[in-house]
Amino acid sequence: MARIDVNHVRHSYLPNPQKDSDFALREVHHVFEDGGAYALLGPSGCGKTTLLNIISGLLHPSHGQLLFNGKDVTNLSTQERNIAQVFQFPVIYDTMTVYDNLAFPLRNRGVPEADVDRKVRETLEMIDLASWAKKKARGLTADQKQKISLGRGLVRSDVNAILFDEPLTVIDPHMKWVLRSQLKQLHRRFGYTMVYVTHDQTEALTFADQVVVMYDGGIVQIGTPAELFERPRHTFVGYFIGSPGMNVMPVAIDGKTAKLGSQRIELPGVPKAGSGTVELGIRPEYVRLGRDGMAVSISKVEDLGRHKVVRANLEGREIAAVIGEDETVPADPKVRFDPAGINIYADSWRVEMGA
């Protein structure tokens, strides 16, 4: 296991990058602590797979440095870095049996056959393919194949880190849940450093202790699931995490109040707002629907079973509110914003609030 330092890493797929937009990875400077479970979360094309491939050595970064336990590995090959990585789509060795597929990474490194056997059986048990051990791998279904890929990632116990690149994309929902909790258990048992790339927020939030949210080639926020939810550092994090995402509306700040059209909203403190566009962000969970507050017109109520999502129009803009399953929408609806859930953003970045 290793602590991974990503030092000012930039990467471009172009031969002569000039502008910032030429970089798939603008600049990442981050430490993955030894034994941590991290999720890299972000939309497609935000650079998360690029970062992962740089860590495993499949890509050489254009700029920057990579340290494992303080040792510079930037110029080491993938083999020398001793990393396990699981890819999005199943990669199996067609002509081998399931057993041999799992044994392959161990045998390539000259592990004694007795240890190979023990580790492979353990892993087969874990991915629930023990009864398939002697079958040819090519006859399996897509999700069984992906389990083999996953197994090959987990079979070596001495790796520096295990990297997952959206490994559960082809697995069906129930199995996804089972495998994810198994990964979580493994992490607790063996303390692997794990980095898990996904664009699925549920996956990221349930798997990781620390979620790294990436957007447009850079890291916008690193935090626990709770921090990402309560205090999104960037409006993108607000939109991207949560369902529905955060309500964001342009406001004018006047001391401890924010002005939204003709409405005045009480703030928990005085924002240290700089210049530029100022916006107020509030999660639908903190929007209270009742008989007092700001008048809204309801456009839609979506009943999701556990709760209802109310789409309403406030001062000409669409906002969402989450209300309990047994709550009803009043005849003359009004909303209040719970001050605990209010965040103020200047040029899309969150600003702190003073007393």
């Binding site: 396990a84 789509f89 990669v91 067609d94 081998m96 990474p105 390539n108 090519r138 006859g139």
Partner: protein, 288 residues
């Protein structure tokens, strides 16, 4: 949708049936007709029964040509398949080198077969041929007109030059269809260069290789034009393959009956071998 059961669909295959009848079935039946009769010309035929077949199967000339043919096919497969794989593995996968290599590889395949024969016939000559002249100049006694071994070497080298490209192109097509993730996974798993070939590239090429072997076997077993142009089957009978022997019998000696019998046996052998290959390939598919 409601299915309509009638035989109208047969009209759709009628054109091709007619075409095949004229190009294949009718000529074949003519050959069958010749093979059981004897003629001395003037369109006078007498019944010969199975005489020609008996004579053919007991003639050493036929079996010798057949053995020569099998040895030839075996040698060129043993050279062209590994060589083709080797070249395909070393061809560039991207950049400007790809079209250059592909065009270079296609060139021999675009040359008409008799021209290939003529090129090598001249190339190997002792007096004016670049190859023959310089081989002798550096002291190697090379003369494909008189020495059977030299004749074989010439024909084999010519065939390798002409047809290895086909194996290369097929293998290359198989190789470029392998997704990058496989190579990445192999790196992660610490696989050696050999293991990558053995467990990723070779299995992915298996299907195209089967086709390549099938095509090269069929073609080499039916080879006619090139050795006919270069050696004319000689020196002696040393490069007389089945097809050359057949043409000698039919058109040289004008023995229509024996030649027809030989054609049929030749045809059946190729049919049998095609069937074997076909079965192997479909079984392989079913196993997948």
């Amino acid at each position: 949708m409601e299915k309509t059961w009638n035989n109208k669909a047969w009209f759709l295959v009628l054109p091709v049936l007619v075409l095949v009848a004229f190009t294949a079935v009718i000529p074949l039946m003519t050959v069958v007709n010749y093979s059981v009769q004897d003629t001395f010309g003037n369109n006078v035929f007498t019944w010969a029964g199975t005489e020609w077949f008996e004579e053919l199967l007991s003639s050493s000339r036929f079996w010798e040509a057949m053995v020569r043919n099998l040895i030839f096919s075996f040698i060129i497969l043993a050279i062209e398949v590994p060589l083709g794989i080797f070249i395909a593995l070393n061809m560039p996968k991207k950049g400007w080198g790809v079209p250059v290599c592909l065009v270079l590889m296609s060139l021999p395949l675009l040359i008409p077969w008799n021209v290939v024969g003529t090129i090598w016939q001249v190339f190997g000559r002792n007096d004016i041929g670049l190859l023959g002249y310089y081989l002798n100049a550096i002291g190697i006694d090379y003369n494909y007109v008189q020495d059977p071994f030299d004749a074989w070497v010439t024909i084999i080298v010519m065939d390798v030059w002409h047809w290895t490209s086909l194996v290369v192109l097929l293998c290359y097509a198989g190789l470029v269809s392998i997704p990058d993730a496989f190579y990445q996974a192999a790196k992660i798993d610490g696989a050696s260069r050999w293991a990558v070939f053995r467990y990723i590239q070779l299995p992915k090429m298996q299907r195209v290789l089967l086709i390549a072997v099938l095509l090269r076997f069929m073609d080499s077993f039916m080879i006619y034009t090139e050795p006919f142009v270069v050696t004319g089957g000689g020196p002696g009978n040393s490069t007389t393959f089945l097809s050359i022997d057949l043409v000698k019998t039919a058109l040289g000696q004008f023995d229509l009956g024996p030649a027809a019998a030989m054609s049929l046996v030749y045809f059946l052998i190729i049919l049998l071998l095609s069937w074997v290959f076909y079965t192997v390939m479909t079984n392989y598919d079913a196993e997948r």
